[in-house]
Symmetry: C2
Subunit: 250 residues, 2 copies
């Protein structure tokens, strides 16, 4: 952008037609938890290429909007949610031939939503569904274009964000229990965490979670009713829980 090929440049630098034109799109990987299992929102393509195949929702960037704005717009169009708790760019993809129709460079965004189940119903997408991420990563579901790679990168980014930012509470409602929060970590990292130590890590430094003063109902199988918490501000800085190699589950 700042430097053109040196030998082929001159005053005609302003002439866009001399340089390869690309379509620029934004693809949004929308993650959510359904019954303690990590899911991704996919749409079924209505036309060729890859007609009928599952794909990540996305669309063309407009010249008048930033990439972040384009991602936000796509998210609203697809889910009706106007403010994701997390919407972060994680990569750009521009391999030649990744779209058979034309030269396309796409920018990948990771969005985290809570309780998408009801939201998807309100979507105008012809075919949209929440799919377990494991089904995608283990290739039990075919995806269009290079979307498998994009989802892989998005999930890896989510795993890192979990260690570093407040992404965990983004999966949950305005109030939650420590056990629900722990379930998010366990699902995304695929590990089993000690409930007692997890609780201490979260409550140890203040600013992470704030007690609401109410208690949730115990499950149908009984048990002591857990305290309810809401997310504190410290989640914007760096998360309190860190992965250790010793606790791998599989």
């Amino acid at each position: 952008m700042t430097k053109t090929p040196r030998d082929s440049r001159g005053p005609a630098d302003y002439d866009l037609s001399r340089f390869p034109a690309f379509a620029v799109t934004v693809d949004v990987v929308i993650l959510t938890m359904v019954e303690s299992v990590l899911h991704v929102l996919l749409v079924q393509r209505g036309e060729a290429p890859f007609k009928g195949v599952w794909a990540i929702p996305g669309g063309f960037k407009r010249p008048t909007e930033s990439l972040d704005e384009a991602a936000k717009r796509e998210l609203v169009e697809e889910t009706g949610v106007d403010a994701a708790r997390l919407l972060a760019q994680f990569g750009a993809y521009g391999d030649p031939g990744r779209d058979p129709r034309m030269n396309v460079v796409t920018v990948g965004y990771l969005a985290v939503l809570r309780d998408v189940g009801s939201v998807v119903a309100g979507s105008d997408a012809a075919q949209a569904d929440l799919v377990p991420v494991a089904d995608v990563l283990e290739e039990r579901i075919d995806l269009a274009f290079d979307h498998l790679m994009i989802i892989r990168d998005a999930v890896e980014r989510a795993r890192v964000e979990l260690e570093v930012s407040g992404i965990a509470t983004a999966f949950l409602g305005p109030t939650f229990t420590i056990a629900e929060l722990r379930a998010v970590y366990e699902a995304i990292w695929g590990v089993q965490l000690d409930a007692a130590n997890f609780r201490r890590s979260i409550l140890g430094e203040d600013g992470w979670v704030i007690p609401v003063g109410r208690r949730a109902r115990p499950g149908s199988s009984g048990g002591r009713p857990p305290e309810l918490y809401r997310a504190g501000r410290a989640w914007r800085q760096s998360g309190p829980i860190h992965r250790t190699p010793t606790e791998e589950r599989n």
Copy 2:
């Protein structure tokens, strides 16, 4: 990319002209150490806009190459180095008006080189120079376009990579001393590390550095001659040294 605006799409989907065309460029932030100070390679623009202003080297992506390949090509064109020890994409930038001439989306890459001093001489760039990163971040140097933001992001990425990958040895030659390695951490994080504890952290687990069996010459002011090491394979996984908030220098 996979989904076009629903109401305005049809069989004419294949017609590229119906969608906004962008120029796609790759900008490479090249970092290196000069006398234990972190530097970035900048080029002086030869023409408007921002004629004479410093900028990150970069260029247009070609339809026949991937983004990674474009970054590698730019690096070679600019420095003559054909294999950077680290070349990682860290972000895409597409704000409207970021280039006054046309719609440009640029993909930022971070490159780490050792000993660029001699390399820059061999460059075909009209004006290229290594500038202390601090001069850029503290805005003592004006940059073209949004390149200040891009460099900020690149340096932040370097700080994270230092904690997580083998980026530290990429700043050094094939053999190095523990003190040289420590200087890399101190320069990039802006901290003062205890030499004794640093040494133990690096040598504690094996795979990080491998002793060569030779010793370097002490400095002109004397001192015991240090052991020489080379980088081990474990650097590809996760780094041995981690930042702590207590050791901040400024």
